[in-house]
């Protein structure tokens, strides 16, 4: 399949490969809600004494993905709402440990494949796996039709694949060996950026040495690293079974789980954005106080903090005290914006646009400081077609918007919002400043609920 759309924006504040190790804090705050997961089932009581690796909570709706204590201490469920707080104590605990939920026990004498996936689940590595077509954590008991391992994260700014691989190459390689027994005949695709670098050469040589690994090279254009798009590009059909997608960080977590028998609770994250003084990578445990992280990198101005990248990340409103178990990056986007006079008549040398209507066209290769500003008033869609051009899924966001606006759910369905990969490029380029991504996600949800209701009705 050919690739469609995509667009790279070059923003200021790209994290360098530098890796900062942070001092251990006294307190960790583990959020019970992340972008995909809600850890609704608690397995510890307030005041309990837990050891490193204890399961604190789990998400029953996402294959029971566990929330794991990155280190030992006393649990406090009340200190910060929506968080499990773990306070470090000096004295060794004498009180009994909470029992490991049976779900996460890996009994001996089971088949090797099952043993591997159960270990991955119990040690917190399974949450890094995604099914390409449902974008959810896959069912570990159903064998995949293929596994896609992507070494690139293209959203600005995510944890960089090259930064992770340079420091964790040995772990990456060791984990892959352990994953091989999961497969019978299914292919494993490794995704690389299509350009030459020393690391890229090393990785390709490594992959070529393995008969069971196939290589896919892709253009470095956001969001071509998207799981669904990769699966489509490889011609894998949804009806042929799940496609497991996992990225560098997931493979490193697999190494931790299978080779070191430790939960993958300390990870590399990227901290970037235009208002970060020192954008870089950090090695931190889950639950690390956000405030300490930002203090370390230094904020230059009042900013919006986003868990995740600037296209799909979630704005932090200050209630989140610690790094959640899913986010791999934090971005700080400046809020300050001086209202320019007659901006629409100005040449705009410092404004990069998808449309070529600014003089920045004449100034290639610079990185732009972009505030969290819509840059315009909300208007009716004028059909300019930019969203259609950038859409990597090939759908027509503008037509969908009109169907949504007209409350025509049936019309929406024929325009296939289910194919949307939620990259956010349509909202980004929209001349009329419509929040297309949000609208499409909402209509997807409505259609899904309607279908569920229908199915229930049919059963009765």
């Amino acid at each position: 399949m050919k690739t469609r759309g995509g667009y790279n924006i070059r923003l200021q504040g790209k994290p360098t490969k530098e890796l900062i190790a942070l001092s251990e804090p006294k307190i960790l705050h583990l959020p019970l809600k992340t972008k995909r997961f809600s850890f609704t089932e608690l397995h510890v009581k307030d005041g309990a004494h837990v050891a490193e690796g204890a399961v604190l909570a789990s998400d029953p709706r996402n294959q029971n993905v566990p929330l794991i204590a990155p280190r030992g201490g006393i649990v406090n469920l009340k200190q910060v709402p929506g968080h499990v707080t773990i306070e470090k104590v000096e004295a060794e605990s004498t009180s009994p440990q909470p029992k490991l939920p049976s779900l996460y026990e890996v009994p001996t004498g089971i088949e090797q494949k099952e043993k591997i996936v159960r270990t991955l689940l119990a040690k917190g590595a399974w949450q890094f796996f995604t099914d390409a077509y449902t974008a959810r954590v896959p069912d570990p008991s159903k064998p995949p039709q293929a596994i896609i391992i992507s070494t690139i994260n293209l959203e600005p700014f995510s944890v960089r694949g090259d930064a992770q691989l340079e420091t964790h190459f040995a772990e990456f390689a060791a984990a892959l060996e352990k994953l091989q027994p999961l497969l019978e005949y299914q292919p494993v695709w490794m995704v690389f950026p299509a350009y030459q670098s020393e690391l890229g050469k090393k990785m390709r040589d490594f992959a070529r040495g393995k008969a069971w690994i196939e290589i896919l090279e892709i253009e470095r254009k956001y969001p071509f690293d998207n799981d669904t798009l990769l699966a489509k590009r490889l011609g894998l059909k949804a009806k042929d079974g799940p496609v497991w997608c996992v990225r560098t960080e997931g493979i490193i977590a697999v190494d931790s789980a299978l080779n070191k028998d430790r939960a993958a609770t300390t990870r590399m994250i990227a901290v970037g954005g235009a208002s970060v003084a020192k954008p870089c990578h950090m090695k931190v445990p889950v639950g690390y106080p956000i405030a300490s992280i930002m203090e370390q990198v230094g904020l230059t101005e009042p900013s919006r903090l986003v868990a995740g990248g600037v296209f799909t990340g979630i704005e932090m409103n200050g209630d989140e005290k610690g790094l959640d178990s899913e986010s791999l990056s934090l971005n700080a986007i400046p809020l300050a914006y001086k209202r320019e006079i007659l901006a629409f008549t100005m040449p705009g040398f410092s404004k990069r646009s998808y449309s070529h209507t600014f003089a920045s066209m004449l100034r290639p290769g610079y990185r732009e400081r972009k505030p969290a500003i819509a840059y315009g008033e909300l208007r009716a869609c004028i059909n300019c077609g930019f969203c259609v051009e950038v859409c990597p899924a090939g759908i027509i966001p503008s037509a969908l918007h009109k169907a949504i606006y007209a409350d025509d759910l049936e019309g929406c369905e024929t325009l296939r919002p289910d194919l949307c990969v939620e990259c956010g490029l349509c909202s980004f380029v929209c001349v009329s400043k419509l929040d297309l991504r949000k609208e499409i996600i909402e209509v997807k949800e409505t259609i899904r609920k309607e279908a569920e209701l229908l199915a229930e009705g049919a059963q009765e």
Partner: protein
């Protein structure tokens, strides 16, 4: 300008809902947002946005129209400027009135309509007729459909079509066209209308062509012939059009669809002896270039799919040739584009369903 921003911010509450001045809110907001770029923060992901907005988008079209406008002024005198001001004022008042009644924002689409409309008129057209035309186009082709973004027809063209039918004589009267003066400063500083002793045209190239009189190509390129204000100097229209294509504001598929189909159909008709005009003459004459670059590419009234744009362009080209060669009308671009506007939704329907079926097979 700080004092103005300060003033606006201080008085904002006076136009809020429920206050006596609330009815003026659209105008208040339009003025504020026209002068000062909005600082509205993003509320959902993506957290950063492209700097383009509707004002900028429309402004690019205005900039692209400037060369042709200046040529129109140079050849036809100061009256052109008066017509442009008139068009902006009449259309602007209507736009503001509708926004106030609807309690909606004033959309920036009028930045373009207000300029493009007078450029399609004969330079010496009576002012009141021009005012009627722009009022008709704005009210019936745009506002009644819901304003910018929801119109079926290009408002400027609908206004012009209304005049072409309702006021056929002044619109086609050769006396309303001026014979251009090439030597500097042209008619830059002169006021010309039907009452002065200036050389008034005997016919525009399109009228001449009906009687087998073909204006030389060089005259078409450099605007040395009578015609509507903005359509005469092909070379500047092409320059503005290319700018529009480079900025991605106009869809190249539509433009090339029109130009290619007119070129090919006309070449066939010329080669078979049906039509006396050559392909290159028809490409440069009349309002074809102006229509192809600035009228047909109006995104609101064009199809949204790429395939649809090709079909739309080719249809417009075909209808233009049909009208020019086989009807009593001297010029066909206006009706061809309006016809294209009319069928655009159907083209879109078909193209969309085909595209969606293709997509369905992929996953």
């Amino acid at each position: 300008m700080k004092w103005l921003l300060h003033f606006l911010e201080k008085n904002r509450e006076k136009v809020e809902e429920g206050k006596p001045l609330a009815i003026w809110k659209p105008l208040y907001e339009a003025i504020e947002n026209f002068i000062f770029a909005t600082a509205r923060p993003t509320t959902v992901a993506p957290h950063v946005r492209d700097p383009i907005d509707l004002k900028r988008y429309m402004m690019v079209v205005v900039i692209a129209l400037l060369p042709a406008t200046l040529a129109g002024w140079y050849f036809n005198g100061l009256r052109v400027l008066a017509l442009i001001v008139l068009s902006y004022v009449v259309g602007g008042i209507i736009e503001v009135l509708f926004a106030m009644v609807r309690k909606e924002e004033i959309a920036e689409g009028f930045l373009v309509t207000g300029l493009i409309f007078p450029l399609t008129l004969p330079p010496n057209i009576p002012f009141w007729i021009a005012a009627v035309g722009v009022a008709f186009g704005t009210i019936f082709a745009k506002e009644l459909f819901g304003g910018t973004g929801r119109n079926l027809f290009n408002p400027a063209l609908a206004g012009r079509a209304f005049l072409a039918i309702g006021y056929a004589k002044p619109m086609a009267d050769a006396a309303n066209f001026t014979v251009p003066v090439a030597a500097f400063p042209g008619n830059l500083f002169r006021w010309i209308d039907g009452s002065t002793t200036d050389a008034l045209a005997s016919a525009t190239p399109m009228m001449g062509a009906k009687s087998g009189n073909f204006e030389p190509i060089s005259n078409l390129l450099f605007g040395l012939h009578p015609g509507s204000i903005g359509e005469t100097m092909s070379i500047l229209i092409i320059a503005g059009g290319i700018f529009l294509l480079l900025t991605k504001v106009a869809a190249w598929r539509t433009v090339f669809g029109i130009l290619a189909s007119v070129g090919i159909f006309q070449a066939i008709l010329h080669a078979t002896g049906v039509s006396a005009g050559t392909a290159e003459w028809h490409l440069l004459a009349g309002g074809l270039l102006f229509g192809a670059f600035f009228m047909a590419t109006d995104p609101v009234s064009s199809p949204v799919t790429n395939g649809g744009k090709w079909i739309y362009g080719i249809l417009i080209g075909l209808v233009t040739v049909l009208i020019r060669d086989f009807s009593g009308y001297v010029e066909g671009v206006m009706f061809a584009v309006l016809f294209g506007n009319l069928v655009a939704p159907f083209i879109d329907d078909i193209a969309l369903s085909m595209k969606m079926r293709r997509l369905g097979r992929e996953a």
